[in-house]
Symmetry: C2
Amino acid sequence: MLSVIGLDADDTLWQNERYYRAAEAEFAALLADFADPPALQERVDACHRTNMGIYGVGAKSFTLTLIEAAIDVSDGVVSADVLRKIVEVGRELLAHPIELLPHAREVVETLSAEGYRIVLITKGDLFHQERKIAASLLDNHFDAVEIVSEKRPETYNGIFARHGAGAASAMMVGNSLKSDIIPAITAGAWGVYVPHEQTWALEHAEPPESAPRYRKLAHLGELPALAARIAVGAG
Amino acid sequence: MLSVIGLDADDTLWQNERYYRAAEAEFAALLADFADPPALQERVDACHRTNMGIYGVGAKSFTLTLIEAAIDVSDGVVSADVLRKIVEVGRELLAHPIELLPHAREVVETLSAEGYRIVLITKGDLFHQERKIAASLLDNHFDAVEIVSEKRPETYNGIFARHGAGAASAMMVGNSLKSDIIPAITAGAWGVYVPHEQTWALEHAEPPESAPRYRKLAHLGELPALAARIAVGAG
């Protein structure tokens, strides 16, 4: 029995991390006078780790962190002109078009047509995520959208109880072992890992290979067949 | 019949705007070399109006707007040190303690004890609003919390249908005519305006004096009596 399928959005249904990587590359070029790329990236990552607890995640948090890192790494001598360019780099992150990943549209349409309840479960900035969901033109296939600040086991328990028959009959699908897979499995759901070549370093975790409800797919196109097997108890 | 009561949070249950005003005053002091306060505020407001459609509202959006305004108003010569202080001013907005408004605790406790369904409906940054709600220690009295990016009539229609018997038997209470009162009345609900001495200029609207379901209270303490009258059809 599969009462509800949770789908992650960023880097599961559409490209996301690549825009952040591109922004970091632009940032590194702007700060080239002050630090070489690896040292700069280290500083930025440390700054992100500290700021995540204050700002949460998302493009605005990311932009504020880059500004802070630029001032730090330059010992306060970076120009306002460079900082303005960093603000612009961050703003571009909020404006890029949505590029669906291979199989995303066909899989969402198939699952929806087959009668599964589908909930989009995404972490991050409310305003930005809503815009991306609308721009994806997939939104009419979702039975619900849940934009959350954290993806913890209790997050999944709450969502799967609200939109299905609880975590025991639910599945979460995503590219982040740390946010999508491990906490969903901890909650009692199936965790279906669909790797993306670019995943944020801060989302890294070891795959829960020994968990009976852990599955890994080569690509999203394999999801409907897996869902069908799990639905009949042959997962 | 009153199937659900929606309560706004910022400047309805707890102080919010005063921290933004204080931040703007600190900002004006930091930029005193470049612009006098009224001219600066005009520039900041213009910048907010443009950026709201890109960033949404909230402390991170506000901070990014101040940074941009500082660079603009100084023609790009503001120092990184001043910009660092602006980042810190913005960070303080995310960290201030929650100061409940007069009557807030007693009213929420009374309404909850009297068996009304109460939904907290707040606009802004997901991460920050969740933290404030937890810090208010009022959260166990709310039947639900809805953090939204916009407060439109359809927002209220959706929320009041999900948590009550629809907008026709619902009431929205808040300090913003533009976000809390007018769209709730448009949706068919009661709109109960509780003015706060500080309300963001961008939230200004004319009171809908002629709307039969518009009510204005002198303070939140008057809410339980009004709710009781409306519940028995004597609103």
